[in-house]
Symmetry: none
Subunit: 125 residues, 4 copies
DNA sequence: GTGGTCTAGACCACA
DNA sequence: GTGGTCTAGACCACG
């Protein structure tokens, strides 16, 4: 599991870490029960501060994607407890769909794109 | 075209304005050629700073959704110049799809959701 | 609204801030809609770091006690969205009740204590 | 007396052990004079480090709930030496009551809850 | 001027 | 050795 961070991106680093870990879990690259690197290790390996990684882990923990065992170590849970997409994501989807429409993407093309992405296709992170 | 802004939202106000205008265009509520309110008018009506509206209009202009003619009028173009979704949106879609998967949403449910949203269903903005 | 922090306490400073603000809201000292001090102001006034106050505000925001208006300022919401006490608090109550029993406090004395505290009595923070 | 420990809980393991033993004493499951398992036995049975159990026993001993005789046996005392709730617990109660208020729990509901918990009701540990 | 984010250190409780 | 917490600075997006 290697992270590729864009330090000049507008999305905060801790969110980039969070997102890539979620993608890793969804793609199966990170199996449920698997141990994540320690905060220190991931921070050094990625060239960011411990607290940044810590914040990423905190949000993942809050959303139920990972749990930290007090005896040391952070482990992948495998699924959020939620039963549906949050309203925030629905709003984002709505805007994306609108932009797609205006960019001339047909309904079928858009739906195919969504299906492909759901199945892990459409490479590059 | 009434804007509903959430001042306690995590998304910046100027982006909320931008997004809602894009949604308005995509839904047909704002027709191509239609004139948008002046910055001052929209700012007053919405209770936000003029700079904020200005920034929203700027990004819309940059993306080709609106144009400003010499006399200062702002009109809807009707479609972005882009031929596809920007990489930023692809990344967002990828994360949304991953979260959906982990929330237990099946491929078909997700695709149906995307189709519904593309067609303007799934209410509330 | 003055905070009294115990820097040698075992409970983290950000939690002490959080707790005292919750107590302030419940006691009515902080009315719903009232503006809280800025992070910087509270940090300086209390002699702690900005990030510590920031963390306190973040947790309060997550629990629905306050909201931050993007136009600047943090405002008291007045009530958490929750409908009941979290399991964590139930566990804590259980231990407290057990300790009270073993300390020789009778059922009525304990219940009276709880009632008094609910009504804001039993002074000192 | 079986311990159920949550290694992903925010409360330290040694405190979970301590709390459950106190609950056991208060509920009568652990009678005064009864012998507790050795540190080693409890550690092995629970899958935690001996140091952790040792720390739990130490705090219990400090608070007067158990005593250790010369031969190493640890027995239940049956009541803390204290005559009232410690200030720490009063503070915790105050916060819990405030949160309950803000969560919309009425005085009577809260008092009933406290009474029920004092009497050992409201299941699950 | 506001909050959000990040850094480079540091200390401490826990196990 | 692990995560949690804190500090004293700093930069940036937003409004």
């Amino acid at each position: 599991m290697l992270l590729s961070l864009d330090f000049s991106s507008k999305t905060p680093i801790y969110l980039q870490i969070r997102n890539q870990i979620i993608l890793g879990i969804a793609s199966g690259e990170l199996a449920a029960g698997e141990k994540l690197p320690t905060i220190r290790a991931l921070a050094e390996q990625s060239g960011v501060n411990m607290m940044t990684v810590s914040k990423a882990y905190s949000t993942l923990r809050q959303d139920g994607y990972i749990t930290t065992d007090r005896r040391g170590g952070t482990v992948v849970t495998g699924s959020s407890g939620a039963g549906g997409l949050s309203g925030h994501y629905l709003g984002a989807l709505r805007v994306i769909a609108a932009e797609a429409r205006l960019a001339g993407i047909s309904e079928e093309a858009f739906v195919d794109l969504c299906r492909g992405i759901y199945n892990g296709g459409v490479d590059n992170g």
